[in-house]
Subunit: 250 residues, 2 copies
């Protein structure tokens, strides 16, 4: 079995290194193809208008001057094209990817790209800002990796794993969850630069979250690991019916 | 009523200008806040690590040195914060945004950002590569804009409008569709640069599409305008149940 690891924090991230070390314990060939620098909030962007460089760090590790999506695409269709990975794991991201935040996430986008390329995939994030308990997140990543290698995933579905920043013995358990909703407040900071010209900075303070039962955000806040199955079909099938009747005859 | 227009091809794009001109015919205040240059395939990336500049071109038009997502965020929370837009329209993109391609699309991401900010939103794209029939796409954009201003949209749902590159009289009609699936072939081109170093370029030839009934891709291929309702809840609710039973007791 072959596992491909990537992330959006860049190849030197401690989270990625811990993930690789832990998944190395499985009887699998583990490759790392990751951005050469921080690509947080790169979302699912793909570099179409410029070439990409791949720095070979060792026989199983490449650093790419691109986004997480570039890394997965280049790895699967280029660098590792002799054999398709059986699993892609993206992370361990050094911030949670919960609720609507996943649409911005480079970590989740790497998993989306893998899913589009028909490879089962897991995105892993840790809900912390300091003093990261990477071992805990790596432990749960391994559990899910084994599960997915054994059972597969539905086509077009990936797993979004978020782990609280707690020692393993303090985690309350693991919950399968749905995507929640965060609340944000007015996030633009307006300032004047040293030359007197105004500039803007996207800020954003979390106001908390909408109290949705069984959501990813609730699970993490309660001290549980959260596993959310995420699908790539974004069609609003319920609303489609109403629209259909509204637009009949157009 | 206030309409905000953006895109990912940049503020000088003919598609954006035609869209603005057409929506100006409605009794609405129309603002343009768009990237100062091409941001295709920017996906839903948000510039968090650097300031943004807004160049005021006239009282209703700003060019931003950022992504489509930055434009919407900065417009709604900054430049236009005196009054929230009633509708955001993103486009007219000079290539279709169909099937899984929407996850890469800056055009759709601007609409996603608006939806996250609780503003009903429409993404508009034209399925062409040359000799664009912008009038046709603008015509259908206006129809949908009027519909959404009158009826609203479900929270967390946006409309993804794709228009065939045909004269209005040759369009067969409009269909409400679901997200389809394209097929791609091995997309990496590997070459040697003038200094003898290898580089990669993400290419990708379309192989066609999966023959899914009522999909966006089928509608466009058949000469119809396609309207797909897209929702932001990505949870795979069906598979969630199975996962839940598999992970009981964890």
């Amino acid at each position: 079995m072959r596992i491909l690891i990537s992330n959006d924090d860049g190849i030197n991230s401690e989270g990625l290194q811990m993930l690789a070390k832990t998944l190395d314990e499985l009887a699998c060939e583990v490759f790392i193809v990751a951005p050469d620098r921080d690509q947080s909030a790169a979302s699912h962007s793909l570099s179409l208008h410029r070439p990409l460089r791949a720095e070979k760090i060792n026989s199983h590790t490449y650093a790419i001057d691109g986004t997480p999506t570039d890394c997965i695409n280049l790895a699967v269709n280029g660098l590792l094209k002799d054999k398709k990975p059986d699993l892609v794991v993206s992370g361990i991201n050094m911030a949670a990817n919960l609720g609507d935040d996943i649409t911005y996430s480079g970590t989740v986008s790497a998993a989306i790209e893998a899913t589009l390329l028909k490879i089962p995939s897991i995105a892993v994030s840790i809900d912390g800002r300091l003093d990261y308990k990477f071992e805990t997140a790596a432990h749960y990543s391994k559990i899910l990796a084994v599960y997915v290698l054994e059972h597969g995933l539905p086509e077009d579905t990936l797993l979004n794993l978020n782990v609280p920043n707690l020692k393993l013995e303090n985690v309350k358990g693991m919950k399968v969850t749905k995507q929640g909703k965060r609340l944000y407040e007015d996030p633009i900071v307006e300032k004047i630069d040293p030359r007197g010209k105004e500039y803007y900075w996207i800020g954003g303070n979390e106001l908390g979250f909408v109290d949705i039962k069984d959501s990813d955000i609730m699970a993490i806040n309660d001290g549980y690991v959260s596993v959310t199955p995420i699908k790539l079909d974004l069609t609003d099938h319920g609303y489609l019916k109403k629209l259909n009747s509204d637009f009949e005859g157009f």
